[in-house]
Symmetry: C2
C-alpha cells in the first residue's frame, strides 16, 4: 500500500482536520463525531440536512457541506457506516424548528444506524425524517444491501433538497422533493481496479490486467459480471443501456448527465466517456440539459467511472441550478 | 494498459470533443488546431490569453478556459508541445486590438513552438507577448527543460492575468502581473507511481511498491532522488522545506496554499496532506490566506501530489478572488 498517510487508523480524522483547516470560513468541525458542519450550524429558518455514510467516497459527503447543500456530514470510518451515536449527536446539534432530514444511501449498516438515531432524536422531540437513496441499477440486493445500492445519484438528491431547504420549504416538502429526484435518477458504474482501505492495507478485490467489473459497487461489491476490458464505446453502451432501459428514459426526455470518476481515473478519460454518452443520448432523442463531469462519489483510489441520469422537469431543473457553496474550490 | 479509450491515437480529440459537448454555452471547439476557446472568442475590450502545453495535464489547460481565465487553449498530443501551427492559428483567431498573451510552461518544446508562433503572428501585425512559467523548485534543467520546469503554479498565473484582462488591463500590465505572480510562486511534487500515455501503451517510468520519486516532473522527469516511501508528515516536511527555503517565504508572509493531485490520488489524501501543510506553515508564522485542494495540473493517472505556495500582497489577493468560470462544474 502506497498512500499519503501517517497512522492508517487515523486516516479519517486526519483527512477531516484538513477539510476543516482548508475551509475556516465555510465549515466547523466536531472531532468527537466526525462531524463536518456548515459554519454556524443549523438555522431555525430552514430544514437541516445531514448525510453520513462511510468515508472513502469523497467528496461525498464531508465536501458537499455548505449553503444550498448539506448542513452536516458525520461519516464513519472508511467504507463503514457511522455509529448511530454520531448520527444522533449530529442530529441534536443541527436540530432546527423546521425539522431535520437524514439522507441515507441504501446499505444495511447505514440504514440501521440512521434509523436508531432517528428514533432516539424523535424521542427527544426533534422532528426527523429519513430519505433513502437507491439509484444503482446494477444489481438488486448486494453484499451490504437489501434492495438497490445508493451511489453517485445521491449528489442530485442532496442538491435538490439543499436548494429547497434554503428556499424555506418545510420538512414534508423537502422529503417530497428528495423522493422525487431519487425516483427519477439511475446510475451504474464499472471498475478497472480495486482499492485499498488504509487501515486494511490490502486491496478489497483485484482484477487482472485485462479485466473490468461491470456494475461494481462503491465498496467493491460485485456487479453484474467480470469481463474482458472493453473499448470506451462498448462500456458506455452497456452502462447506458442498463440505465436508460430501467426507468425507462425515453425519446423527448430532458436529463442531467453525470460522468463520475471513482477516484483514480483522470478527468481526461471522464470527458472522453462524456462525449460518447452525450452522442448516444442525442441519437436516442434524449436531450442533455445539464452536464456534470468529475468526481462526486468515489471509492478511494479505485480506477473506474459511473454514469448517472436524472430525468428533469421544470421543478428539478430550477433546484439543480440554484446557487450553492462547498469545500471544493475551483478558484 | 487499462484506460477508457477507443483508438489510443485519437485520445486527445476524443477528450476535447467531450469537453466541448459538456460545455456548449461556455466553449467553442476548433478541431483542426485542438483549440478550445471561450464562447464567442476574443473581444477587442480585453487582452486575449492563450496557453497550450501537452495534453495529459487536465484540467490544465483546456478545462480552465472561460470568463476570467484563459481565452483559449490549444494543447498538443499527450505530453507533447502543440505544433507551432496550432499556436499561430489560435493566436490569429483570438487576436484582439488589446493584444494577445501567450503563457508557456518552461519546456524546450513548448518554448520553441510558442516563440515561432509569436514571431509569425507579430509579422502579421498582431501584438503578442510571451510569458514563461517556471515554478518547480525540484531541479534546474531537466529532461525537457533548460532552467526550471513550469508545473501547477501556472494556475495562479492564469487566474491573475485572466482577472486583469477581464478588468480591461492593457497587455504590458497583464504581462507585469503574470511575471509578478510567477516570481512569487514555488512548487514541488512527489510521485508514487508512473503513468501511461494512451498511444504509448506503457508506463513512462515505474516505481517499486515501497518507492517514491521526490521532486518528480509532470511528464515523469526525474526529481531530486528516488527513495523509500515516507509518511505523509515526512513528505510534506520535505516538500515544504524545499519550497519555503527557495523564495524564501518568511514569518509574517501571507500565502495561497495549493495541494494538487497528479491524477490518481484521491481527494481524501490531498486533504490529509493539506492539514499537515497548513499546520507546518502556521508553526513557521506563515499565514494561509487562501486554500486550494484538488486537481489543477496532473500527469494522466499518476499517483502523487504537489504543493504550491504563492506569496500574496493586496493586488494578488484581489486578482485571485475575482470571479471566473470554467468547464469543471461543481454544481
Amino acid at each position: 500500500m502506497k498512500k499519503f498517510v501517517n497512522d492508517p487508523k487515523q486516516f479519517v480524522p486526519d483527512m477531516l482536520k484538513g477539510v476543516a483547516l482548508a475551509n475556516p470560513d465555510l465549515l466547523d468541525y466536531v472531532p468527537e463525531y466526525n462531524l463536518i458542519m456548515r459554519k454556524g450550524g443549523a438555522s431555525h429558518d430552514r430544514v437541516s440536512i445531514i448525510q453520513g455514510s462511510g468515508s472513502g467516497h469523497e467528496p461525498a459527503h464531508v465536501m458537499v457541506v455548505g449553503p444550498g447543500m448539506l448542513t452536516g456530514a458525520c461519516p464513519g470510518d472508511v467504507f463503514a457506516a457511522p455509529p448511530a451515536e454520531y448520527v444522533y449527536e449530529s442530529t441534536k446539534r443541527l436540530a432546527s424548528d423546521k425539522g431535520v432530514l437524514l439522507i441515507v444511501n441504501n446499505y444495511t449498516g447505514d440504514k440501521m444506524a440512521f434509523e436508531m438515531a432517528a428514533e432516539d432524536a424523535t424521542d427527544e422531540g426533534i422532528n426527523v425524517k429519513l430519505l433513502f437513496v437507491n439509484d444503482d441499477v446494477a444489481v438488486t440486493d448486494s453484499l451490504y444491501t437489501v434492495g438497490r445500492r445508493g451511489v453517485a445519484g445521491n449528489f442530485f438528491v442532496i442538491k435538490a433538497v439543499g436548494a429547497a431547504a434554503e428556499a424555506g420549504a418545510d420538512l414534508d416538502e423537502v422529503v417530497r422533493i428528495g423522493e422525487k429526484v431519487n425516483a427519477n435518477t439511475r446510475s451504474m458504474g464499472v471498475a478497472l481496479t480495486g482499492c485499498t482501505p488504509p487501515a486494511k492495507g490490502e486491496p478489497i478485490f483485484t482484477l487482472a490486467d485485462d479485466e473490468m467489473e461491470m456494475g461494481v459497487g462503491i465498496h467493491g461489491e460485485p456487479g453484474r459480471r467480470r469481463d474482458t476490458m472493453g473499448t470506451a464505446d462498448e462500456i458506455v453502451d452497456e452502462l447506458l443501456e442498463a440505465i436508460v432501459g430501467d426507468l425507462p428514459y425515453q425519446q423527448g426526455d430532458e436529463v442531467a448527465l453525470m460522468v463520475n470518476g471513482l477516484g483514480g481515473t483522470p478527468i481526461s478519460e471522464l470527458y472522453l466517456l462524456y462525449g460518447i454518452a452525450a452522442e448516444r443520448l442525442a441519437a436516442m432523442g434524449i436531450t442533455v440539459h445539464r452536464s456534470y463531469v468529475g468526481e462526486y462519489c468515489t471509492a478511494l483510489e479505485m480506477t473506474g467511472a459511473s454514469i448517472t441520469l436524472v430525468k428533469l422537469d421544470d421543478e428539478i431543473k430550477e433546484l439543480l441550478a440554484a446557487p450553492a457553496e462547498v469545500a471544493t474550490r475551483v478558484f
